[in-house]
Amino acid sequence: MSQFMLFIRGGSASSEHLSPQQIQEAIERYRAWAQKLRAQGKLVSAEKLKDNEGMLLSTRNGQIVVDGPFAETKETIGGYFIINAENLAEAIEITKESPTLSEGGMVELREIED
């Protein structure tokens, strides 16, 4: 059993033009997806990251340089899920079912090293 991290970018959460009903339906899709994983013991944790507060720190010519905070874009990581999966193939299957993909967002899938 390995652990994988799903970085969530975009999807319906970044769409401003949803109606209240559509927002509720999107939440219910996530709920159904997460509940299925949890029932199978495959959901380890999940957190939302704060909007507009990320920054990039680096060293340039021996000086610490801070970039950001960056404006919110569709490419910003909104949050992450950590899941258990037998192997990469299963992790891909789980990711494919995530509402983020059906809503036009992106998921970066990474395996956590033991």
Binding site: I23, Q24, Y30, Q35, R38, A46, E47, K48, G79
Partner: protein, 436 residues
């Protein structure tokens, strides 16, 4: 707050608590728009809508990673309040967008209630309904605006239900809000001197909204059926408010509930029309009938007899009948006679003729229908020739029946109705060809 991910063994009770009620967001949006409009004024309606939209989106950004809060409605209200206060405190730009009236003292007082349980949203929603039904707006616009502000439908959803382009509906709503601003519309329950008149407008708007959903003329039926349930939801809001606890409102609510009890039995699995006489009566919604009869009883207090009373009475006679044959057609005919005196509309005229046919036979019904033939408002109404067809069929004149169904076919674009009329036409033609 319980986390989606904290507990490995699912807690069933807690999960059932976090279940989202149907249309919760839509109805919460309507509540919050109404409550915030009381605070910001009708002139800032669009700003209010922005605040509410952002609060709902916040739920979409957070809940997928956590859990649905135990009191989702309370969470949304709290978020909207925080959002409002943040904006009021931080953004001078925002203060400028407000048109002046809100001073720092009032800002501190906002909002009075800590959570949803002790805030009288009903007052605000009813005031919002009166705003939506403002006398300077056309009926069409009133219906759209009530759906938009009190019910939380988006412009796109209203556009789809009323079969107009989304941009047209969005523009219509913006113009309506501008007009309310220009008129200086006040957010309030109208004063006693105007109340009866204004309440009648609200009732008429809800009645038309319901009918729009009930007589699906064309297009997708599901979104339109939602209009019926929304009309009931809004009428219940009116009926539970002190100003709405009057016989007419109960009669209207009774009518809507009794009619809706048959929604599922009106079409088969393929969307084909099933006439009242042929419906499976066990598929009628008993709970709705029961609630409808309850409100019909409440409507009988006092001596008022409105058109809603008569229509609800007719719907009740159908709802309690064990079969088509055992229906109290004499009572229904009398109700239609009384209704003709109040509203001699084409639908009432037609149904009156049908009731005559049921009581005195198809020939008597055909005589009555013949009187309607030159009625201008019925000339393009497909149910007139369709009813002719039905009565000719019953008097075994299949030639004329077939001719009538052909005429009716030319007048409707609804697919389900066309299929129904085609079926009737074929049946008449077959009977015409076979030896009698």
């Amino acid at each position: 707050m319980p986390s989606l991910t904290s507990s490995p063994s699912p807690n069933r009770r807690r999960e059932s608590v976090s279940e989202l009620v149907d249309h919760l967001f839509r109805h919460k949006a309507g509540q919050m728009i109404s409550a915030l409009t009381r605070y910001f004024g009708v002139e800032n309606l669009e700003l209010v809508e922005d605040i509410v939209q952002e609060s709902l989106l916040k739920a979409l950004q957070q809940w997928p990673y956590r859990s649905i809060p135990e009191n989702p409605g309370g969470w949304l209200w709290q978020t909207a309040k925080n959002h409002t206060l943040d904006m009021l405190r931080r953004e001078a730009r925002f203060q400028k967008r407000l048109q002046g009236q809100i001073g720092p003292v009032e800002m501190e007082q906002f909002p009075a209630a800590e959570d949803t349980s002790d805030y009288p949203f009903e007052d605000d929603q009813l005031s919002m309904m009166f705003i939506g039904c403002h006398p300077t707006l056309s009926r069409e616009v009133q219906i759209a605006l009530v759906l938009n502000t009190v019910s939380g439908f988006s412009a796109g959803e209203i556009a789809r239900a009323f079969l107009v382009p989304e941009a047209t509906m969005a523009q219509r709503l913006v113009r309506a809000k501008n007009k309310l601003r220009a008129e200086g519309a006040q957010f309030e329950i109208p004063p006693t001197s105007e109340l009866t008149e204004r309440l009648d407008v609200v009732m008429n708007v809800l009645y038309l909204l319901f009918n729009e959903g009930y007589d699906a003329h064309a297009g997708e039926s599901l979104v339109r059926q939602e209009l019926c349930f929304e009309a009931i939801h809004l009428c219940q809001l009116v009926a539970t408010h002190p100003v709405g606890q009057i016989p007419r409102v109960h009669a209207l609510l009774a009518l809507m509930l009794l009619q809706s009890s048959r929604l599922n039995a009106r079409t088969d699995a393929d969307g084909n029309v099933i006439l009242l006489a042929d419906q499976n009566r066990s598929a009628w919604d008993r709970e709705m009938i029961h609630a409808g009869l309850h409100h019909l009883a409440l409507s009988a207090e006092g001596d008022e007899l409105s058109e809603y009373h008569l229509q609800a009475g007719i719907a009740a006679r159908h709802a309690v009948a064990k079969s088509d044959e055992s229906t109290d057609w004499v009572g229904i005919l009398n109700d239609y006679k009384a209704l003709l005196e109040i509203t001699p509309s084409h639908v009432v005229l037609l149904n009156h003729a049908v009731a005559i046919a049921r009581v005195y036979g198809p020939e008597a019904g055909l005589n009555e229908l013949a009187k309607l033939k030159d009625h201008a408002s019925l000339r393009k109404y497909h149910l007139l020739p369709a009813t002719f067809g039905e009565l000719y069929e019953r008097s075994r004149d299949y030639q004329r029946a077939a001719q009538s169904y052909r005429e009716a076919l030319l007048l409707t674009s609804n697919e389900a109705e066309q299929r129904f009329l085609q079926k009737k036409l074929r049946a008449s033609q077959m009977l015409l060809g076979s030896p009698q």
